[in-house]
């Protein structure tokens, strides 16, 4: 992502190099001032062009979760929430990113709607309707694994308009120890708000792109297999979605279109070999918590 200030610095650098080259200049001919300009331009480019950090992603994720839980209240079932976290944490430890700034967290939203949301940074929210729609622990794990795929691929962050982040970087500047003025803080809050709007709109209204869904499904297959879950759980979960789709078009079906296509993609990825011997005992503990 290139920001306006980095573009200006790059332009300055290129112009300087062109001038030096056209004058037949060699390195030893560069004056200390010219060398200083080159170094400054290189430094400015480096400073301006940085992605959203893990810590910033965490604060974005918190705000997204605060928006979602303002619409859908938490489903306060301690045993179910703990169980969900045990399944989710098991999967997270088998991903390529077991650690995030604020860690992974999983919670249930109190709505019969069938949906799940990946908040940037590592909080995954799944609806009571979704929990009720899956038939065993391996399918529940598949739902969470898919959402973990979105978190790790930073699909939520990708929904933020790049111009917002460019503007934020201009305000943030390049001094680690500097305090923001009230005006700068207000500008950052406004850009932060816009960023949250972008992410929530994608999560709730528009949904991720087809390719992002496909990649999240492929990643989910890998996480499930690595953790010892049956990757076929993902097929089961998608079949549940398909069944639900016959009766309704809301919830996840509005934001995750093309269940048929997703099923094809998952089947195309091939059957990942798995030891299914643990499925019955996992299904038993699932049934005890999700009647």
């Amino acid at each position: 992502m290139r920001t306006p200030s980095s573009s200006a610095a790059l332009t300055r650098l290129v112009l300087l190099l062109l001038c030096l080259a056209s004058a037949g200049c060699r390195l030893e001919d560069i004056t200390p001032e010219q060398f200083g300009m080159i170094a400054s331009s290189v430094q400015t480019i480096g400073k301006a062009a940085r992605p959203v950090s893990d810590q910033e992603e965490y604060y974005i994720g918190r705000a997204v979760a605060a928006r979602l839980t303002a619409t859908y209240p938490l489903y306060r079932n301690k045993r179910l929430t703990e169980y969900l976290n045990l399944v989710g944490q098991t999967l997270a430890l088998h991903t390529e990113q077991p650690a995030t700034f604020g860690g992974y967290h999983f919670a249930v939203l109190d709505t019969p709607e069938i949906n799940a949301f990946a908040c940037p940074g590592g909080t995954v929210l799944i609806t009571r309707g979704m929990v009720a729609s899956v038939k065993n622990e391996d399918e529940l794990a598949a739902v969470l694994a898919h959402e973990l795929g979105h978190v790790i691929h930073r699909d939520g962050i990708a929904a933020i308009q790049s111009s917002r982040w460019s503007q934020a970087l201009l305000v943030i500047g390049g001094q680690a120890a500097r305090e923001f003025s009230p005006k700068e803080t207000a500008q950052l809050v406004s850009l932060f708000q816009g960023s949250i709007d972008d992410v929530v709109k994608t999560l709730v209204v528009n949904g991720y792109g087809r390719e992002q869904e496909k990649k999240a499904d492929r990643a989910a297959l890998g996480y499930l297999a690595a953790a010892g879950y049956d990757p076929q759980g993902l097929v089961g979960y998608l079949e549940r979605l398909q069944e639900a789709g016959r009766g309704s078009k809301g919830g996840i079906l509005a934001t995750h279109p093309g269940t048929e296509e997703r099923l094809e993609n998952v089947r195309e990825a091939g059957a990942v070999s798995a030891d299914r011997s643990g499925v019955p005992r996992r299904s038993k503990r699932f049934a005890e918590l999700v009647p």
Binding site: L20, Q55, P73
Partner: protein, 153 residues
């Protein structure tokens, strides 16, 4: 021109290399230096965001590190090879890199969150804090994995 370009490239490369080679910074809020290169191994020391760890070795996805008078292992996803000085002054030029600025927490941070919360009273941050507050213990997780016939990480 080629010589100049080479030197510019060198400057860029040097800027990209960590100022203190052989060290990494913790980029998660909390983490641990473990006695072995696996999750659930006994914890030798707790580390926090921004702590500097000296790299001794590497095995797979784990760094062998030393800090706080102990040595042990930390997962690669918990650290990055960047740092910042509390003074805000980096190298000889007095400037700091973008990584240093972000590691110093300059950006979307608690100050910005506070402003956002203040401007949007309808947000449910209490629920978010509640979600984050629930942490399953390592022993519970290890037992859960074992009882479910799953694979220990």
């Amino acid at each position: 021109m080629r010589a100049i370009a080479c030197h510019i490239l060198l400057i860029c490369l040097l800027a990209a290399v960590d100022a203190a080679a052989g060290t990494v910074s913790v980029v998660t809020r909390d983490n641990a230096i473990r006695s072995e290169n696996r999750f659930f191994a006994p914890v030798r020391a707790k580390v926090r965001y921004g702590d500097r760890l000296t790299i001794i070795g590497r095995k797979g996805d784990w760094y062998q590190v030393s800090a706080k008078g102990v040595s042990g292992w930390v997962h690669k996803s918990a650290v990055e090879s960047r740092s910042y000085s509390a003074s805000g002054r980096g190298g000889a030029s007095g400037g700091v890199s973008a990584d240093e600025v972000s590691l110093a927490g300059k950006g979307f941070n608690p100050q910005v969150e506070a402003g956002y919360r203040n401007a949007n009273k309808n947000l449910n941050y209490a629920a978010v804090d509640e979600i984050e507050h629930l942490v399953v213990g390592e022993k519970s997780l290890e037992t859960f994995i074992q009882q479910g016939g799953l694979i220990q990480p």
